[in-house]
């Protein structure tokens, strides 16, 4: 894996390219998967080649030996040219369970029950699955963890990092895990320690676990300020568009977001404007029953029953090119699986467009304006929505 920063915003935000070996422009989104494939998007409709994979998903139904025999995840999933990034946690069905994590291994809540994963077992998964990138096993704690527990998590994560690297027999790029909960000193200490290790990039864990957006800023900065600029940074747990912008502003390059998954399950479609920074700010015209907050619409709403326009007028995705809001509204009403397929296709396409806009804004030196405008229009919308009630 190679990484190069190509442009800086006025602050810490940066745009770059990860070669793995296929080039991926950053900031970039890792698509959420279930057992390696998107939850609903069928492989013949998959048009993004950067995917998040949780090795824990494969603990049921298929043996590591079988995965290894076929040559790892790429041939198993038929995604030979895709970049697969292994992170144990997925924020949906593989959730860090800090109460049960102990000195032996990290615990996760999964559909097959609670799983305690030891570093050696984890490395066996990695070497059988052969992802392009993988992160070391971490002890993630929530924002409310005690100072003592938080310190333990940092030490444990560093110890496991050394164990993972020493026992690694894979040619995938290793990203060292950084934790530290909601303590700036611990975040900094952990980041500095990991930065001294022989890793090709960094994974920032322990976010999206109960901290507020405000308290996250100093924590993120403490981490990224301690890391060398020339190595990529991946974060888990920042999913909302605002959170992605917050991460980008702090200098994060890669995001694994479950935002699309949750939107899709709820019947929501992303609709915010993907304009460039130099175009006019458009006024949002919220309707009281639109189920909209200015960034998304709820296609279950009755107002879409007869709406024969696509979700987003000029959207190039399969869903918008082929189907109307009325049809998706019907599919949601009758609980048909195609609703989720079409929504995941559109939402993924739209969110990837959002990342493209972010990269362009950084390249044009206008990231700060882009971020302000995005958040500003959200606030403006929420404000006018309040007034119209």
């Amino acid at each position: 894996m190679k990484f190069a920063v190509k442009a800086w915003s006025n602050g810490k935000g940066r745009a770059g390219v990860v070669h793995c070996p296929q080039p991926i422009e950053t900031p970039a989104l890792l698509l959420t998967t279930r057992k390696g494939l998107p939850v609903f998007i069928p492989p013949d409709h998959l048009h993004s080649n950067l995917l998040h994979v949780s090795p824990l998903h494969f603990l049921e139904g298929i043996s590591l030996k079988a995965i290894s025999n076929i040559g790892g995840l790429h041939p198993l999933l038929g995604l030979r040219d895709h970049i697969l990034v292994a992170v144990p946690r997925d924020s949906i069905i593989s959730i860090p369970d800090h109460d049960s994590t102990n000195r032996i291994g990290a615990s996760f809540e999964t559909p097959c029950g609670r799983m305690l994963i030891k570093p050696a077992e984890y490395m066996e998964m990695i070497s059988s699955m052969r992802p392009n990138l993988w992160v070391t096993l971490a002890d993630e704690v929530p924002a409310w963890a005690s100072e003592k527990r938080n310190k333990v998590s940092v030490e444990r994560t560093l110890r496991w990092l050394d164990e993972c690297i020493t026992s690694s027999s894979t040619d995938g790029a290793v990203f060292g895990s950084i934790v530290g909960g909601s303590r700036v000193e611990e975040r900094r200490r952990c980041a500095q320690e990991v930065a001294r290790r022989n890793v090709e990039g960094f994974w920032i864990g322990g976010f999206g676990l109960g901290e507020s957006m405000e308290e996250r800023n100093p924590l993120l900065s403490a981490v990224t300020d301690s890391l060398p600029e020339e190595k990529p940074r991946l974060v888990s747990g920042l999913g909302l568009p605002e959170e992605v912008l917050q991460g980008v502003a702090a200098g994060v390059d890669l995001f694994d977001s479950t935002y699309i998954y949750h939107l899709t399950l709820g019947g929501f479609a992303l609709t915010f404007e993907l304009e460039r920074t130099d175009t006019q700010i458009t006024k949002y015209q919220p309707k009281s029953n639109s189920g909209s907050d200015g960034t998304k619409i709820n296609l279950k709403a009755t107002m879409y029953r007869k709406d024969i326009s696509p979700i987003v007028d000029n959207c190039k995705c399969y869903t918008c090119q082929n189907h109307t809001k009325a049809y998706i509204n019907h599919l949601l009403n009758v609980h048909e699986m195609l609703a989720h397929i079409l929504l995941e296709i559109h939402n993924t396409h739209h969110f990837l467009g959002f990342f493209r806009s972010i990269r362009e804004a950084i390249q044009e030196g206008k990231f700060e304006q882009f971020q302000q405008k995005f958040i500003g229009s959200r606030h403006e919308h929420l404000f006018s929505a309040t007034l119209s009630v």
Binding site: R34, K35, L37, P38, V39, F40, P42, P43, D44, H45, F58, E60, G61, I62, S63, K65, A66, N69, I70, L76, L77, G78, P111, R305, K306, I308, Y318, N322, H323, T324, A326, Y327, N329, H330, L331, N333, V334, E336, M337, L338, H340, I341, L342
Partner: protein, 410 residues
Amino acid sequence: MALRFEILGRFNRARAARLILPHYECQTPLFMPVGTQGTIKGLTTNQLEDIGCQIILGNTYHLALRPTSELIDELGGLHKFMNWPRALLTDSGGFQMVSLLHLADITEKGVTFQSPVDGKPMLLTPEESIQIQNRIGADIIMALDDVVKTTITGPRIEEAMYRTLRWIDRCISAHKRPHEQNLFGIVQGGLDPVLRDICVRGLVERNLPGYAIGGLAGGEDKDSFWRVVAQCTAALPEHKPRYVMGVGYPLDIVVCSALGADMYDCVYPTRTARFGTALVPEGVLRLKHKAMEDDMRPIDPTCDCMVCKTYTRAYIHCLVTKDAMGSQLLSYHNLYYMMKLSRGLHSSIVEGRFPEFVCQFLQKMFPQGDVPEWVCNAMEVAGIDISSCSAPFSSLPNKVEDTQNQEVKQ
């Protein structure tokens, strides 16, 4: 009449034809997947085209409930609503009511039932069924018939058959779009050859664009099943399509095609996919089975669908019945299998090698030569020599009649 039916080839009773419908030019014999609520579960319309689906079914009863036929009409018809450029067929709604609602009751006026929305008594008349189907706008619409279980005997069968004949006239006069939609009549009469004969002759007199053989695939024994099909196909006009309703097991389709039927529909391939079962030339493959865990072969090594070209049984095994993707991928393969079977029937008839095709099919499904007796009997009537792939009966122990439940052991 809004169709043309051009026979391209024959083998005895079997025929391969071009069925030209308002929205698509189909090749028969053909299988129609069921898209109950305006979608085939878990597949995009793009994938359905890739797979080679020619006609898909919509269920009038479900569509009339949601999103309603009025809305479909207002938005330009079902083709436009679901963005399906090829042909569509809708059923009358009667069968769904009788099979889904315990409180459905049939009188001379129509089918009375309790509204699943508000519990009020409702009535579906032949006129109303046609009006709803006119609004939905499918290429083929079905007459409302008096549906009775094939396993029922006695005067009820006779009553239902005569009522079906009386209702067809009400359907014909209610049909407002005969130049855009084809009304098919449905032959009823249970397992009674005399009643079936009266019904066929009555319907043929009405000169409809096509005919369906109804009241089968409802649990009757296989010998009765194929005999009814054989009787009806022999009596129906040569130059019009024949549709055997609710039939979808590959073996049944091969047998009915040999007997001169052209069209089939069934939820089986997609429903069985959701339960983790794949259709393969040998019968079925249960992907849930523990033995699949380390099986690195594709579902069907002879299949060139997207799923078989990409995935191992082991990977599908870890998806099925747990993740949406499992049923999506299996449905894709199963429909691909049905379309490949349809194409195989069509081209083998056109190319004059239909018996070879049937023998190859039977050989894979019954490698021991234990072809069920009813299949042998049907093939004899169809004039297809299957002696090369079936052992004489005396030499075989008792056979499992229902091949669909046979496990593929590999």
